[in-house]
Each structure stands twice: as C-alpha cells, then as structure tokens.
C-alpha cells in the first residue's frame, strides 16, 4: 500500500504519527515546564504539516494558516503559559498521575477505537485521509483523557489546547484547510481563550490558594459538601 503513495503523502503520514506521539508524551509527562514544551512541539509539527499540505495542494491560503499556527500554537500560547507558571512560581512543580500505566493503556485503546470509527469511511477516501481522520480523532480523545486525568488547572488547559490541535490537524489534512474566514475566527477565539485562562489561573489561585481544581467543590446539590452561602 505504502509504495503507491507519493513522497509528500508519506511525509504527511509521518507527521500524523509524530503528532500522535506528542499526544502520548503530553499524557505521560509530569513536569509542568516539559509539558508546555511538548505542547509547543505539537504546534510546530502541526504548522509543518500545514506547509506540506500547502505544497501538495497549491492552496496559497494554507501558507498563511501555517504561519498563524506556528506563531500562535508553537510560540505565543506556550510563551503565555510559561509566563503564567513563572508568575505563579510553579515552574518546578511535578504532578502525580494516578495509575500512569493504566492511563497510557486507555490512551492506546482510544487510538484503536478511533481507527474502528474511521473504518467505515474507507470507501470514501484515500489511505492518507482515512489515517489522518483516525489520528486526529485520537488526538482529540487523548486531549480529553488528559483533561480528565490531570488535577492541575494548567495541564487541563494544555489538554484542551491539544484537543484543538487535533481538530486543526483534521481540518488541514483531510480537507486541505477550511476557508480562511473560519480559520481566522478560530485562531482569534483560541487567543482570547488563552488570555482568559491566564486571568482565571490568577483568580483560582487567589480564591483557593492553589491551582488544584479538585478543591473547586463548593457548588453542589448535596447538603453535606456545600458550605452555607449568603
């Protein structure tokens, strides 16, 4: 099968594998700074993939979107997160993951599941797109898993942003990019979201004196856990 593919198509498949690998790295990485760096690498890989696809498809607007991805996902957002960790004095923090081997096994199961879901699309499209859809779905689900297994607000946000990376990967590789207006809108939303997240970290820190979201438990239905509120 592989010999039938052209060189750029094979390169796109390689990129897909690398992006998936960074997703696993994000799941397993416990040091905060290293997590941010892996996330930046994922953004860079995404930008590189976009350039590759742009070269194959000769869609000039993809170059702009590659540039936006590079600046935003690989540089600006990691930089903002970096600044925030410095400001909060938690650069050296190491997070404990409960049952790390179980989490990675679950992640592998999610990848298999994504391929299972993408299988019926087979007849519709070429090998590259089928793989791309399966892998981007896997990246989305792994980001989801990361948000579930982590307790730190910042790593949850990185999980969220890596979900968005998966989405952009799907948009770029399977469809040669969404129309420009949409991409710009999405990029803008991502930027605003990061800034908002930054504000939130400060506030969560102020109000519960920690970034451990497990301690956000005031709002609930049952009588015992909820504190009386005026």
């Amino acid at each position: 099968m592989l010999e039938q593919l052209s060189l750029p198509e094979q390169a796109v498949l390689l990129m897909a594998a690398m992006v998936l690998f960074t997703s696993f790295a994000l799941l397993a990485q416990t040091r905060l700074i290293a997590t941010i760096h892996v996330f930046a690498w994922q953004g860079a890989l995404l930008a590189l993939t976009t350039v590759l696809v742009a070269m194959v498809s000769h869609e000039s607007h993809l170059y702009i979107s590659a540039l936006v991805t590079l600046v935003l996902k690989a540089m600006l957002v990691p930089w903002i997160l970096h600044r925030i960790t410095e400001r909060l004095g938690i650069e050296r923090q190491v997070e404990t993951i409960i049952q790390p081997s179980l989490v990675l096994l679950a992640a592998a199961a999610l990848v298999v599941f994504s391929y299972y879901v993408a299988l019926p699309i087979e007849k519709l499209s070429a090998l590259v797109t089928r793989n791309a859809i399966a892998i981007s779905m896997a990246v989305v689900l792994l980001g989801f898993l990361m948000m579930i297994t982590r307790r730190q607000a910042i790593t949850q946000v990185i999980g969220f942003m890596s979900m968005e990376n998966g989405l952009l990967f799907a948009a770029v590789t399977s469809t040669y990019g969404m129309p420009m207006v949409v991409e710009l809108g999405i990029a803008f939303d991502v930027l605003v979201a990061t800034v908002l997240f930054g504000i939130f970290f400060l506030r969560i820190r102020e109000s519960i004196d920690s970034l451990d979201v497990d301690r956000l438990n005031r709002l609930s239905e049952s009588e015992e856990t909820a504190e009386p509120r005026e």
Partner: protein, 494 residues
Amino acid sequence: MTIQSLILLLPLLGMAALAIIGHRPAAGWINILFCAATFAASLALVFQVLDHGSLFALHQLLYVDAVNVYLIVLTAFIALTTSLFSRPYMAHEVSQGRLSDARLRLYHAMYQGFMLAMLAALSSNNLGILWVAVEGATLTTVLLVSVYRTPEAVEAAWKYFILCGVGIALALFGTVLVYFAAAKFMPTAGDALSWTELHHRAALLDPVVLSIAFVFLLVGYGTKVGLVPMHQWLPDAHSEGPTPMSAILSGLLLNVALYTLVRFKMLVDGSLANGSHHNPALAGHMMIGFGIITFLTAALLIHRQRDIKRMYSYSSIEHMGLMTFAFGVGGPLATFAALVHMMTHSLTKSAIFITVGHASHIAASQRMDKIRGLIRTQPAVGWGLLIATAAICGFPPFGVFTSEFLVLSAAMKSWPWLTVPLVIGLVVGFAGLFRHLHPMVYGAAPENQQAVRVNMLPVFLHLLLVLWIGLSIPAFLAAWFDQATHMISGSALL
C-alpha cells in the same frame, strides 16, 4: 448597508461604547438604548423576510429565513426587556458594594458582546462562523459569570469554561467532518460550509460521515443546550452570575444552541434519507433519547435544590430536554410544538429570573430557606413569582400549556409509550417547583424585611404575551410558525 449587517453592527458599537463608558450612571440607559435599536432593526428584518422570503447578505455569509428571524426577534426582545431590568438591578449591586467600576464596565460591554455573538450565530449561513459565534458567546458569558469574583463565581466560571470548551471543541470536530463530506461536491471551498448550499445538496453527502459528525455535534452543541449528562455547568453558571445574565442565558443562549442542532439535523436527515441500509431517522432518535433523559433527570433534581436560581435553572434544563425531544420526534406537529415551546419557555423563564432577582434582593439571599413571605413584603414580586411559576409548570391559560399539550399530542401520535414518562416528568417537575415555591411566597415574612425598588414591567409584559399565546395564537404568528415548521420538517401543519 442591509438590515442584517445592521443587526450585528449595533451590538458591536454598543460593546465598544460601553467598554469605555460602561461604569457611568447613564450606562444602564445606553445599554437599553442599544438593545432597543437592535430590537427595532430586528422588527424591520421580520417585515422584509415576511414580504420577500429568505434573504442573503454579505456575500451569502448571512442568511435569514422564517426559522431564524423568529429567534432573532425573540433574542432582541428579551435582551431589551432584560436590559430594562438590568439597569436598576446593577445599580443596586453597585450600591451594595459588590461591583467595582471596572467590573461594571466589563459587565455592560459583555452584555452587548453576548448579544453580538448570539445574533451572529443565528444569522450566519456559514457553519464555521456559526461555530466561532457560539464559542464567542461562551467566552463572553464566562466573563459575565465570574463578574462577582467570589470563590463560588470563579468555580462556576471555570466549570463553565472547561465543560463548554470541550463541548464546543467536539462540535468543531463534527463541523470539520461535515466539511470533509461536502468538500468533494462543492464548486468552491467556501460553499462546503455554507448551510444553504449543503442543504440543497444534502442527498449527496456521505451518510456514514454525517452520522459520525452528528454524534460529535450533538454532544458538542448539546453541552450548551444543557443536555444531561453535560449539564453540570448550567446550574452553577446561573446561580453565581448576575441575575440579568441568568435571564438571557436561560431565555436565549440555550435556544441558540438548540437551533444550531436543528440546523444540523436537517442536513443529516437529508443525507440519510436516500441510504437504504441506514436508519433514516438516526438524528431524530438520538435527540429523542437525550431529550427524554434530560427531561426526567432535571425534573427529579429540582426537588433537591436549596438555591432559588439553581432550582429554576434545572427547570430550564427540563424544558430544553422537552424541546430536544420534540425536535427529535420531527414531523410538522412536533416541530410546530417545539417552536412554540421555545418562545413560551424563553418569555416565561426570563420573567421568572427577573422576579427571582428582585426576590433575592428583598431577602438579601439566594437560599430558599431564607426567602419567606414575599407576598406580604412586596405583593408585586410575590404574585409575579407565583403566576410565572404556574405558567412555567404548564397551567392552562398560559402558552406553555399549549405548547406542552402539542408536544404530548405529537408524542402520542408517533411514540405513544413515551407519553407516560413525559407526563410523569411534568408532574414531578411541577411538584418540585411548587414544593419550594409555597413557603417562599406565602410564609410569614421575617422581621424587618423591606420592600425594594422593582421594575416589574418586563415580567408582566412577558406573562401577558405568554397568556396571549395560550388563549389564542395570533393568526400572523401561527402562519409564521407554520412557515418555519415547513422549512424544518418539510411539510406545513396548518
């Protein structure tokens, strides 16, 4: 300059203006002014659409037909009446020292920003821009929820942010899949996200991809509708944000999210209709399932609430479940019922939240065991709350009764055995609301409980409209709903 772009331009200007002067005493009036102008523009749009049919604007990026123009007017109207209530309410909050100048500015700017996002979502023809607008609505409301900066407000806003963020990301994945399925058949790339073009060629879209996409879209946009089990953010956001925001969240945002789902359901239905080995009503069945589970869960959870705004937000979830169910059943009768219910629920629920805002000012608390004897202290608020709650429970003279009755008849027609859980859910929800309401309005008032300055005009206006719909749906409104029903379900009811 078309009216469609004007409807988006006005809130944008309002947002810019209020970001600068939103802390002045006159800001409440300016907010009302912009809302009134938007409402006037939306009325003008109605006449255009009713005269000329569907309209495009801005290189086909904006599209207005009978379905969304009705929601645009409803949105603009409720935003206007809520802004009338918001002015004295926020003045009271400022005098209590709960808000600083900067936060008041933020509140007013975000009020208009929220309007902008919702109107953009409603009038957009491009599925990508629709997504961007719904995400924008999320971001603005996060700021509104956290405006008080209490630990509870920060927690509520965080939950809202994370849950809706994940939801909306899944919805984007669904949108990408739809684009993927469409890109092959469309002459230009831009058309592959244009809803009108997609709807036109829905039969060509691959049914497998569209089914997978709809799962993601239902979970994604369903988070914003408040479907169980993705509903956790909704009661928190309602209870911790300022009350005017609760009114527009319940009355408007949930509708916009449901509207989005319905638009996608139309595409999926069109695509699945021609496949022989697929279940043609897959989208509808999923919506029925989610709808009925949401409806029953929320009805039960109403009983457990202690915070008055949380209780009514569960009632919103209950009603959104009912509407999702009705849209899922499909067919002219159920669709017509769902459209009417959207309107009656929005009007009644925003009236309730406005009254609740006054009630919690009187009692200086949102806890229901602290709110007592409203009718004795301030009859307008007490009776307002009682009547509005009776209306939302579906008591006969009000419009909610009409729409719920229509939903039940539609269910009886196509899914007879599902009427049993529906009726049980309605009774359970009714019991839950009245059980808590009774001591709040009738009980003896605590010592030195003072009446506050209230503006009950929006409440009685909304309730009168709901009563009018309940007694007799005006002919033009019925014709309008029928036109929308025809567009969604393919055949008219009347």
